[in-house]
Symmetry: C2
Subunit: 332 residues, 2 copies
């Protein structure tokens, strides 16, 4: 029996990297049937929004989607499509597996970190107002429910992946109530996972530790905004967003996405590195229980990166997007 | 005529590194008269607070202070002493000059960044409340006045130091009103400095850029919380808080401080690296207009770091705090 998955190619280089990922995943023999829907720039003229209701509908129906980058239109009225997707589908966990890959240029080695970011509240709740013309207030919201939920997600992930330690990141020395509640909530969950070490760090010190000795960290759990910042920081340690998978996971489904942009300057030129999308596809396969198939793709990537004959320009090679995908398939 | 300066030795290793800095600065021939006052743990028994009113008074009178690390007592009632000092004295600009120093271990080279952090508002305003027992709100406040003021500070600094570019860091794609106001306010100031390039970056992308290619950045200007995070991140790129000077500057005066902690485990053992305090002292000398004297101390540090015979254990040497200070004085 095959499983239906929504594929949203997205803007700019999105279609190229999405089709590369689709071909690789199909070649893994995972029994996936693709339902391709447009979102992003292509939708605005026809629907007046980059994220029409029928797109949300297909994801709600299929419960799983793989998504290319979507540009948020500049100017009034449009809010981030990524944020809207997460909120509308209650995808409360933003998860990034970030580790050094063979021959991907980086100043660091031995980095293998999972960033688990709360995806629904904090300053991303979007509650703001002006106070007169010369002052603005934004409201940071932290709830026990969402904090415990993301805490539990992080510890479950640690247990399932056989990881040793969860680090809670916060600024509870300044935000004693909000970050204090986050810290307390995640800690309360930790008791159910006695085999996993639980520690906490203050966000500024954490960033210093990450750029000095990232190899000491394992799973991180963070409120939305620190999670946003530290996801990108850690991606930078292992080669950037071009090699970083992303996942947004909730009770009712999951959207896997490359966290990089749509890179319009190189769109349509067969130049884009498809790795972030393919790696996101691997996360999707694992989520669906296709562990063998995921391993197969990993083997293909590993081989192509080690061998270096079919890698894109950003990795120091001369290969095109399609050729790199084909080489991964061949090596699987 | 000599200038009176308040010296607050602080907690833990504070006295050692403070007296090291004091001896080096005195040896630079800067005409400084020191008024030493206690703050921190030593004050709590006698005054019930780590920051008694008479300490604030001496700083208000002398207008300039050099301060060692002060531990904020754990537990109810005490708020951060550092934050209290900044607020009480309206020290609106937190400035850190962060650059690679000879033989200070770092994965990076060519980093030379000034972080200019707004020091009075944002989530540090400390406005928080619980909403029932299971939710908390913290309020982020951004005003045009404070944003323009820090913007002007950053551009003035860039002009005076002959720097080329100011990068405004924000998350205005999500916090359109508050971070939007910060961005707009700093940009409005930029017009008065046509010779200095002004650009802006989103805070998450900025962190990725910083860990990948920090040498591209010059002066950064940020609201309080991003400034806190990125100050420590950049300090990590050049060797950590042990080699990072700090300054808090306002209309009515300035407090120079090492941003590192009080390291109680090694306190009193003549092991602490005094560089952060001495570098903060250099910033103080420049602030007071003692440019020649500042240069002298820089020369001494440069020599001792290059020569490597008198450096502390954290830098790979075997020297004590006092011996390192003495070597710097000798090389001045
Ligand atoms: C595009 C932007 C709104 C988004 C965010 O801030 O969450 C992005 O940075 C991410 O991390 O996916
Ligand atoms: C000690 C702490 C309250 C302080 C801050 O958050 O501002 C520190 O991190 C700093 O940057 O000086």
């Amino acid at each position: 029996m095959s499983i239906k998955v929504t594929l949203i190619p997205g803007d700019g280089i999105g279609p190229e990297v999405s089709y590369a990922a689709q071909s690789v995943i199909t070649a893994s023999h995972a029994p996936i049937e693709w339902e391709v829907v447009e979102a992003g720039e292509a939708c605005i003229a026809q629907y007046g929004t980059p994220l029409p209701e029928h797109v949300l509908e297909t994801i709600r129906r299929n419960k799983v989607a793989l998504k290319g980058p979507i540009t948020t239109p500049v100017g009034k009225g449009f809010r981030s499509v990524n944020v809207a997707l997460r909120k509308q589908l209650q995808l409360y966990a933003n998860v990034r597996h970030l580790k050094n890959l063979p021959n991907v240029p980086s100043r660091y080695e031995g980095v293998d970190i999972v960033v688990v970011r709360e995806n629904t509240e904090d300053l991303y709740a979007g509650i703001e107002h002006m106070v007169g013309r010369d002052a603005a207030e934004s409201i940071k919201i932290i709830t026990r429910e969402a904090s415990e939920r993301i805490g539990r997600y992080a510890f479950e992930l640690a247990r399932q992946e056989g990881r040793k330690r969860v680090t809670i990141v916060h600024k509870a020395n300044i935000m004693k109530l909000s970050d204090g509640l986050f810290l307390e909530s995640v800690r309360s969950v930790a008791h159910d996972y006695p085999e996993i070490e639980c520690e906490d760090r203050i966000v500024d010190a954490m960033c210093m530790n990450l750029v000095q000795t990232p190899e000491q960290f394992d799973v991180l759990v963070l409120p939305n905004l620190y999670g946003d910042i530290i996801s990108d920081l850690v991606a930078g340690l292992v080669g950037g967003l071009g090699v970083a998978p992303g996942a947004n996971i909730g009770e009712m489904g999951a959207v896997f996405e490359a966290a990089h942009g749509s890179a319009p300057q190189i769109a349509g030129k067969n130049l884009a590195n498809p790795l972030a999308m393919i790696l996101s596809g691997i996360e999707m396969l694992k989520y669906l229980g296709f562990v063998e198939e995921a391993k197969r793709v990993e083997t293909g990537i590993e081989h192509v990166l080690r061998q270096r004959d079919y890698i894109t320009a950003d990795l120091g090679g001369k290969s095109g997007t399609k050729e790199m995908a084909a080489a991964i398939i061949k090596a699987m």
